[in-house]
């Protein structure tokens, strides 16, 4: 086991392990630190932060579904000021690696958030969550339309300059994810996060109305893993050099390995941490074991392995 190079990179950011939290599924890290040392994983991906404090959507905010769940949090959060002074400061103090996720209601909000983060010490990369509604365009999700997705990424790129890697987080709810992926890379993203939740709904049998306060919600968990694997595979096939932070239903090392073979350089764990606070540690250990047993000498060799011709050797 000692020989395996388990490290990964996303753009110019280096991480000792390829397992990360998923945005919105680890709050700001403090709560998980009760269960394991945050420095033991790749990085904390923070919940998507917006400019102002936000109360989020009405409850109920969750519904369990077969092998998955729906959530409708609505980006509740403290706003960038409090985030920087409290949450990020604490993470930096802990020496945890951090990827900050940002979200906005307008392309301008994204850019201004990037401006606030530019030069802040202790941030490894920026995840730009464009899978949220664009209030200037009838609430259409940025990531569902090539142009609005590109506008956001261009604005962030221009603001942030060349150093901090920009990872654009895409929604699977599109006809052609490859064209969106290509578009945001052209617009200046260094990498992609795939996939955000799938739009879903549960109707409550008692009230006979949509169960969630927000009516629709995002489907996550093992149920969506085949969709994540497909999206990652398609995008890696089209853009083999673009680093992908994969996510969607990973709850074991074997699941993480599947996303890596599809083309992910790193894997975020979301819903699995709800069911098991030490899921990240378990997944990380299992993945290390699998790579070793399969005879890989580095994680990097396994990335995108499923795309190689049948007879290729390791």
């Amino acid at each position: 086991m000692s020989q395996l190079d388990f490290s990964t990179t996303l753009g110019n950011a280096w991480f000792p392990t390829p397992i990360f939290t998923a945005s919105g599924c680890a709050s700001s890290g403090k709560e998980l630190s009760q269960f394991f040392d945050l420095r033991d994983m790749g990085a904390i991906v923070t919940k998507s932060i917006m400019t102002k404090p936000r109360a989020g959507r009405a409850t109920p905010r969750m519904a369990e579904t077969p092998s998955g769940m729906l959530n409708s949090i609505g980006l509740q959060g403290p706003g960038i000021d409090t985030f920087l002074s409290n949450d990020l400061a604490w993470l930096v103090e802990q020496k945890a690696r951090v990827i900050v996720s940002i979200a906005g209601e307008t392309a301008e909000e994204f850019a201004s958030l990037a401006r606030r983060l530019r030069g802040v010490a202790g941030i490894s990369a920026l995840e730009v969550n464009i899978s949220c509604p664009n209030v200037e365009n009838r609430g259409m999700v940025f990531a569902c339309h090539l142009e609005s997705a590109q506008t956001v990424i261009e604005g962030v790129r221009r603001t942030i300059g060349g150093d901090l890697p920009i990872i654009a987080k895409l929604s699977p709810d599109v006809t052609d994810i490859v064209s969106i992926a290509r578009g945001v890379i052209d617009a200046g993203a260094d990498g992609l996060a795939l996939i955000n939740t799938v739009l879903g709904m549960v109707i409550n049998p008692n009230t006979m109305r949509p169960h969630l306060g927000g009516r629709t919600g995002g489907l996550s968990g093992p149920a969506i893993r085949p969709i994540a694997v497909r999206a990652i595979y398609q995008v890696h096939e089209a853009l083999p050099k673009v680093p992908i932070l994969g996510m969607g239903g990973v709850s074991s090392g074997a699941d993480a390995f599947e996303l890596i073979m599809a083309g992910a350089s790193g894997v975020s764990v979301g819903t699995a941490s709800f069911g098991n606070p030490t899921a990240i540690v378990k997944i990380q250990n299992e993945l290390r074991q699998i790579l070793t047993v399969k005879g890989f000498s580095s994680l990097r060799e396994a990335v995108g392995f499923a795309h190689r011709p049948e007879n290729s050797v390791r």
Binding site: Q34, F35, K52, A55, T59, N71, G221, P277
Partner: protein, 280 residues
């Protein structure tokens, strides 16, 4: 804000008892030394359905009481209603089977430092943590009166030994099948003044907690209620379990009931805003 569950741990624990009591299951789980960390009001989050389960989320259960025995060491007791698939699975487990649990989670009932007059109000299985609480209050020299209510008698949980630790116990059922007929909230206003109640500890359905808060509104009685919002994680990382709570400055925030609760100050919860969109 609590921030983190400082003494929480995750472990594979063994079921050491599972007994049917009325419509509930009294489930005893061996947890070793951790019992000393469990306080009335805390809850436990349990992984349900076994290795091939399609249920990806834990279920939360109030810790009813803790015991220690030479046979199985420290143990916690839960009172579980076999309601849906997760709780029914749990109620179907036998002695000796193992479950993955995280505990103790959340806030505990605040215990007064002086002897006060306390009224404990429990709806359905909500009575479970109140008996353990009653013992602690008794030890502090408090007067402890208790009201239990449910729709029907088989949903009243009132263990014999529990009655010893209270000064009085009245039971209300809506169908009159046990105790007095009617809602548990009916006698509260009168009792508060008759018994000179300083603090009410409540646990039960949200509608009951809300009703108690309304009865107490404007008065001096402290209301510590254990809320029950749907929780995806139970440890503060998902933001599904929020309730609108007013802080000292009067500002309302959505607080996580799993980590800033389940025991909360009933007078600070904005009951009319529960389930509404909050604008900051």
């Amino acid at each position: 804000m609590t921030g983190i569950n400082r003494s929480a741990a995750q472990l594979l624990a063994t079921i050491v008892g599972n007994k049917k009591v009325g419509q509930y299951h009294q489930i005893l789980i061996s947890v070793g030394e951790l019992v000393s960390q469990c306080k009335p009001g805390n809850f436990v989050a349990i992984s349900v359905g076994g290795p091939n389960s399609r249920m990806v989320l834990r279920r939360a259960f109030a810790i009813s009481r803790t015991t220690t025995s030479p046979q199985y060491g420290g143990a916690i007791e839960l009172i579980v209603a076999p309601f849906g698939s997760g709780s029914s699975w749990l109620c179907g487990l036998s002695e000796g089977e193992q479950i993955d649990i995280t505990l103790p989670l959340g806030t505990a009932f605040g215990i007064p430092t002086t002897s006060v007059n306390a009224l404990l109000v429990g709806g359905g299985y909500g009575s479970a943590p109140l008996f353990g609480l009653a013992e602690v209050l008794k030890e502090r020299g408090c007067r402890v009166d208790m009201l239990l209510g449910a729709s029907t008698g088989s949903k009243i949980y009132a263990p014999l030994e529990g009655k010893r630790s209270v000064n009085s116990l009245r039971i209300f059922t809506e169908d009159g099948s046990m105790g007095e007929t009617g809602r548990i909230t009916a006698p509260i206003a009168q009792l508060v003044s008759e018994l000179q109640i300083d603090v009410i500890y409540s646990c039960g359905p949200m509608a009951m907690l809300k009703a108690i808060s309304e009865i107490l509104a404007g008065g001096d009685v402290v209301h510590q209620c254990a809320v029950e919002e749907a929780m995806a994680c139970g440890i503060g990382i998902c933001m599904t379990c929020v309730l609108p709570v007013k802080d000292e400055s009067g500002k309302i925030n959505n607080l996580r009931s799993c980590i800033d609760g389940p025991v909360m100050d009933g007078s600070a919860i904005e009951w009319d805003l529960v389930g509404k969109t909050l604008v900051l």
